[in-house]
Point group: C2
Chain length 219, copies 2
């Protein structure tokens, strides 16, 4: 809400026109400013000029580093966690604790600022205005759903992973985007207690589908 244009940045004499004392961190400052803006306003609600302003920089410099708005979006959205590493660890817990571990991981992940910003930016940008939705869908499927599905040993792994993903998206919406009062005010512990049984159902319990063959999707 308050972008006065002077964010914390590794100072290196006051910048003017021309090459400064090699300040490579500036690229990262821009990326961080972009992520924050995207998280607050979504892709189409964020302008390069606002990002540049938040980073204390000229709009052209943003494009100099990232080429285009879409590339900047993709760069800002790179996930702060490698799920294909974390998920197998979570699922290796004893059967009685797996669901709660997963629930805990989800909630704690969304408690850390940068993963939360990444998620809200993605969720908020899932609108087909500027080509951002394609990147969002690809990011969600390849970086979250597929690793999770491959680690699962239940039936319908892709479907189970996707259903859990939908609950995560709903959670981000309720707690961080729309800000529904009661959900936004929950403590982490209570939230874990509430969703753990749902995780259990989506990932491990029998689904009770009509027997029309496996609902599998490859690619």
């Amino acid at each position: 809400m308050a972008y006065t244009g002077d964010m914390a940045r590794p100072a290196s004499r006051t910048r003017g026109r021309g090459r400064p004392t090699t300040d490579e961190g500036l690229r990262e400052v821009i990326r961080q400013a972009a992520l924050t803006q995207f998280a607050e306003a979504g892709y189409s609600g964020t302008s390069l000029r606002k990002i540049a302003g938040a980073a204390g920089v000229d709009p052209s410099l943003v494009l100099h580093y990232f080429g285009s708005k879409e590339e900047l979006f993709a760069a800002a959205l790179t996930p702060p966690v490698d799920f294909s590493v974390v998920i197998p660890q979570l699922l290796s817990a004893p059967e009685s604790q797996r669901a709660e571990r997963v629930a805990q991981f989800i909630v704690q992940l969304l408690d850390r600022p940068e993963p939360r910003q990444t998620m809200t930016a993605a969720v908020r940008s899932a609108t087909p205005t500027g080509g951002a939705d394609v990147q969002v869908r690809r990011a969600i499927t390849t970086q979250v759903i597929r690793p999770l599905a491959e680690a699962l040993q239940s039936d319908h792994p892709e479907l189970r992973a996707a259903m859990l993903g939908s609950q995560m998206v709903g959670l981000v919406m309720a707690r961080h985007v729309v800000g529904l009062p009661t959900v936004a005010e929950l403590t982490s512990e209570d939230l874990v207690a509430i969703i753990a049984p749902v995780v259990q159902r989506y990932l491990f319990d029998p689904l009770g589908l009509a027997a029309t063959g496996p609902t599998e999707v490859r690619g």
Copy 2:
């Protein structure tokens, strides 16, 4: 995806400049075109010119009828179902069938075009660009969450309603906005089977919260 500008509309001689054979349906045509556009591209991704084009009308006429883009958005978003009437009916079912009835209602609601458009428009527009998010939050809380909470007789009624709402939002996202393959391809019956136990948990089962007093919100 295909708006050629000539939608079905109660024809009344070809319109030109000036007053035509009193065609009150035109206002509704515009509202419907707006809802479709908002559902496809969200609030900020939709322009008055596109809406006017889809309705086969001049942009000024849109504002003549609705005053401003925000008012048009609010008008387009008026819910096609009065939840404060439907919900008590659903909850009056015998205890063993309530969750499935609710799940069925949700899924079937999202199968009908206009409620689905209303939901996707709301979900897609939950971004603070144009003041639309305020209206979205208010619509969700007053029209869905509050009636549901008032009909519930469990503890933490607002929280339960909000958690169910978050699952609904996630579902809309997965099935209609982002279009996750497996979820989007489910039959209605299978989807009901999958989410019914989750509905049961969120609305009726003990939540297992830390005993820090009731999490109630009034207004």
